[in-house]
């Protein structure tokens, strides 16, 4: 018999064990390939999309009244700019429309779909024909996470006027396609566009400036900073409500951050599965050597070398690995579109996945090399085995050193004591099971905590993004209006507190930063400072961890803040975290910012309500102070609609993680119990002969595994509760997060843990049921 036949014979001998190993390696290869492919592809996904859609790298939108020729000249004459385009559009600084299950308050940029343009010419993914006068084309994210389909009615409300349309098509956009950046793009057919433009008048006339760079790898952020620095009236740029700018670098970081986290979780989980498969392989190899030791002795006796026998074992596992790996990778192409759906819901961009040979080969190679290493390591003892010793069964006379849980002394019922004996005698195997269960429980807790905080109790998640969780955000028309509004709002019914929180762009030690300005940071719900404190006095500043790291400065150091052409030095009093704008945030008090802009008055008022319905409050304030209000945002609704795009992604991750957890629990227990029944067949026969019932033996087997599962689940659950936030901090550290405070809902975790233990018990009992098929007589007489 040659080595190949020997390997095939080994597989045939343990068909079901080979199958379960196949399933584990298959799952590992599948997940690994999805993770690696997505990670590979995501690095170029945005750039490829920009190229495909001919989108600009930089975009500025402003009211036509504020437009200046110098803005155009700057981009036209910039040597780094390849193409520049100016286009008229309708600019709504705060429009309202349904997105997901609630209304969304967002900026809206409406373009004429029939106009000719260089950038972003209209390419519809899906469309209705023929064109109707009330048609509107909306970003693809409206379909993937906004809950719209072709033909649905769409109503946009601006300045208390509502305009109704029919969704006639979906398009992709790399810059204005998701709610993340606070500005949404829409296109209207020529007639509808003109009609809306006329209805809204000059106040909504806007200008869109777009530019593409010669070298797409150049930092668009830097160029935008440069523009802000040189533009003739930068203070206007900084605080004008209808001045909006973005660049592809920022969009890419916002759009891909969640996807990168999801793919990292996938790869980490694939790692767990590979680890489980490797441990199982080690277990299987050791068992197959133990079981076939006489067979090995016979082979050695008739002249097979250790190398040949070793090779047959290696080949057996390599054959399973390669088959499972290749099939896993092939079937991952059925899963990647589902993942593509998540990418689409997060980015509003269509994910089309082609063949990625590099990732495929890498996935198979990683799995194969790891399996090879473990198999060689586990099977190496064959070399030391002498043929005579093997033929004698390889057993020493006294294999048992102690008798754990002596029945006459130990406490507890008979089944319990016998189960304890089994536990104590399989220390290594049980440690392995406990370790695996702990790892998958940790991952499950992680995913459940993530989902709970994104989908159910969103406060911590929204704080992580950097947003303030007030109920209503009111933008005063002018600074003097703001001054009058504050005391008036404070006196209104249901108002618990108010706080000013403005955002302007500034430079700190030459680095572009988003400056948060408040009258009192202590009033904010989102206390982003995790070390030190927020600024209290006019010479103090707090900076984000990302800014601190980039500048190499910490608490107690001073920084130079530039806004327009004025500057001032401030003392850093605290470090904060923020995920938005790549974590580039800083915080000044109102008196602090007045050191640079002496006339500065806060214009955005955050209102916190108590016992008052948000919608009713908005109606009431509009009625009472409508003249002084530029814009009102219902923060509750906005949070609901903006987080809806994350919910489906995190839900998919949770489902995947839980499904894999169930698979691993089932597989591990199936393999271990099945092997145990085979190995202890004679023992169970004797017990049956002496009067043990099948149910008693089944319970004994289940009881010998439940404590192990219990230990694993408790360790994993506790670690999950304690370290999920640390793990998230680690994952998000690149995005400027230093301290995640997600709510760990203990009852939910306890339910999950109880569920896992119940599952383990059920699986143990079901697998142990095989014992029913074995008769006492058969086992005694065989």
């Amino acid at each position: 018999m040659n080595i190949v036949n020997l390997a095939l014979a080994n597989i045939k001998r343990g068909k079901s064990a080979a199958f379960s190993l196949f399933v584990l390696i298959f799952a590992a290869a599948l997940l690994l390939n999805v993770g690696i492919t997505v990670m590979f592809k995501m690095s170029t996904f945005y750039d490829d999309k920009v190229e495909e859609l001919q989108d600009p790298h930089l975009g500025i939108m402003l009211n036509k009244a504020n437009d200046k020729a110098a803005y155009h000249d700057y981009w036209k004459n910039n040597p780094d700019v390849k193409a520049f385009e100016m286009e008229s559009m309708i600019l709504m600084d705060a429009a309202k429309f349904r997105y997901g299950k609630s209304d969304m308050n967002s900026g809206a940029a409406l373009f004429n779909s029939d106009a000719k343009r260089h950038f972003s010419s209209l390419k519809l993914i899906q469309k209705l024909a023929p064109v109707q006068p009330d048609d509107i084309y909306v970003p693809y994210s409206f379909k993937t996470s906004g809950g719209y389909k072709l033909g649905d009615p769409f109503t946009i409300t601006f300045q208390e006027k509502s305009f109704s349309y029919r969704v006639a098509g979906f398009f992709e956009s790399t810059m204005l396609g998701t709610p993340s950046m606070g500005m949404m793009k829409f296109l209207l057919p020529d007639a509808a566009y003109r009609e809306l433009s006329e209805a809204l008048g000059p106040a909504a006339e806007g200008i869109s400036l777009s530019a593409a760079l010669k070298d797409s790898r150049q930092s668009t952020k830097q160029l935008m900073n440069e523009f802000n620095k040189r533009s003739p009236d930068p203070s206007l740029n900084a605080i004008a409500p209808t001045f909006w700018e973005t660049d592809i670098e920022t969009m890419k970081s916002v759009g891909t951050m969640t996807i990168n986290i999801v793919s990292m979780i996938l790869v980490a989980f694939a790692g767990v599965i590979v680890l489980v498969a490797l441990i199982v392989i080690k277990f299987r190899v050791t068992n197959s050597i133990d079981d076939g030791i006489v067979h090995i002795g016979a082979l050695k006796a008739i002249g097979y070398t250790s190398r040949q026998i070793l090779m047959s074992i290696v080949m057996q596992f390599m054959f399973i690995t390669l088959c499972a790996g290749v099939i896993g990778v092939a079937l991952s192409y059925a899963v990647i579109p589902a993942f593509g759906g998540i990418v689409s819901s997060l980015t509003g961009l269509l994910w089309i996945h082609g063949w990625d040979a590099e990732a495929n080969v890498l996935s198979v190679l990683i799995v194969t090399i790891l399996v090879l290493a473990v198999t060689l390591f586990s099977a190496s003892r064959i070399r030391k085995l002498h043929p005579v010793a093997a033929l004698r069964g390889g057993m020493m006379t006294h294999n048992f050193k102690r008798n754990p849980v002596p029945l006459e002394k130990s406490r507890g019922g008979l089944q319990f004591m016998l189960a304890c004996k089994t536990i104590m005698m399989n220390g290594k195997q049980n440690s392995m099971i406990a370790f695996i269960i702990a790892a998958i429980t940790f991952a499950s807790v992680f995913s459940v905590v993530l989902y709970y905080n994104v989908a159910s109790n969103k406060k911590a998640f929204i704080h992580l993004v950097g947003a303030e969780t007030s109920n209503v955000m009111i933008q005063a028309k002018t600074a003097s209006d703001g001054k009058k509004l504050i005391p008036a709002i404070e006196r209104m019914d249901g108002v618990a507190k108010i706080a000013i929180l403005d955002f302007i762009t500034a430079r700190i030690d030459g680095q572009d930063t988003y400056m948060n300005i408040s009258d009192d940071f202590g009033k904010l719900e989102n206390q982003t400072v995790y070390e030190g404190r927020f600024p209290k006095y006019d010479n103090e500043i707090a900076v984000s961890w990302a800014v601190s790291k980039r500048l190499g400065k910490g608490i107690g150091d001073t920084v130079k803040v530039e806004i327009s052409q004025a500057s001032q030095t401030y003392l850093i009093t605290g470090l904060s975290q923020s995920i938005s704008n790549m974590g580039k945030a800083a915080y000044l008090t109102l008196p602090g910012v007045r050191q640079i802009l002496p006339d500065y008055e806060g214009s955005v008022i955050n209102v916190y309500l108590k016992g008052m319905d948000t919608t009713r409050f908005i109606e009431s304030i509009r009625a009472q102070h409508g003249q002084q209000i530029g814009n009102i945002i219902n923060v509750d609704e906005t949070i609901d609609s903006q987080s809806s795009i994350y919910i489906s992604a995190v839900f998919a991750v949770m489902v995947l993680v839980l499904a894999i957890t169930v698979l691993v629990v089932v597989m591990i227990l199936y393999l271990v119990i099945k092997t145990m029944i085979l190995k202890r067949r004679r023992e169970f026969g004797i017990l049956k002969a002496t009067g043990y019932t099948t149910l008693q033996l089944m319970s004994q087997i289940a009881m010998s595994f439940i404590p192990i599962v219990l230990v694993g689940v408790i360790i994993g659950g506790v670690l999950g509760c304690v370290y999920t936030n640390s793990m998230l901090t680690l994952l998000l550290s690149g995005a400027g997060i230093h301290n995640v405070q997600f709510i760990v809902k203990i009852p939910l975790i306890v339910m999950l843990c109880i569920g896992l233990i119940a599952l383990a018990y059920l699986v143990s009992m079901l697998v142990a049921r095989r014992i029913k098929r074995i008769s006492a007589y058969g086992m005694i007489t065989e």
Partner: protein
Amino acid sequence: MPESNISIRVIRFMPNQLLRTEKLCKTFSSGGVQQHVLKNLDISLTEGDFTVIMGSSGSGKSTLLYALSGMDKPTLGEIHFEEQNISRLNNDQLAIFRRNHCGFVFQQVHLLDNMSVLDNVLASGLLVSRNKREIAAKAEQLLAKVGLEETSWRKFPSQLSGGEAQRAGIVRALINSPKIIFADEPTGALNSAASDSVLDIMTAVNRNGQSIVMVTHDMKTALRGNRVLYLRDGVICGDLQLGAFDGELHSARHEKLKAFLADMGW
């Protein structure tokens, strides 16, 4: 002894009858071929008897023993243990029947390798009694009675000699005070001295009223019984009443058995 003299017909349970079979059949199928191992056996065993089953290899001795003990199910016919028809019990009911009424002594002993001698005995004893202290005391008493030194009680089976292991096996069989002990060639794997020692224990146990059914192919061992059933091709073709063993392997008893076996064509 001619076949017509065999007392195998039992109509009703006598007061001291322990076990009886009616038309007991056992058939094995292999590769579509049916092999009738036991054929319409009507046997009755009396309480306190030491019944020996003999026969040539393949005659169905062990099959009969395991069928009588509820370890295996008959293909046809009935087995009555006292008032209970055990042939109708399912596997779990049979397991409960075995633990409550039967003790087993096997040729290969079949002690659990991973448990000490004492634990092997207690693993059976605690199935029936919940009084751990009482059952442990009983186990120790029995172990001492069969001549196993206290130092052996906490040893593993692999650390015992064959004879010691078999004595431990007998204690395991006795721990629940069974109505009947089934022994399948208990001395088959032992040397002469160890065999005598094991048989002495079994004889002593039987003298105390313990019913025993033993399969053997050894004449010296068979002499310990008070009744010998001879099985040939699945049929009881001889039933010899030897009388109670008096402790002496005298020639008259020996000659009687020898003649019986010669008649059976052994």
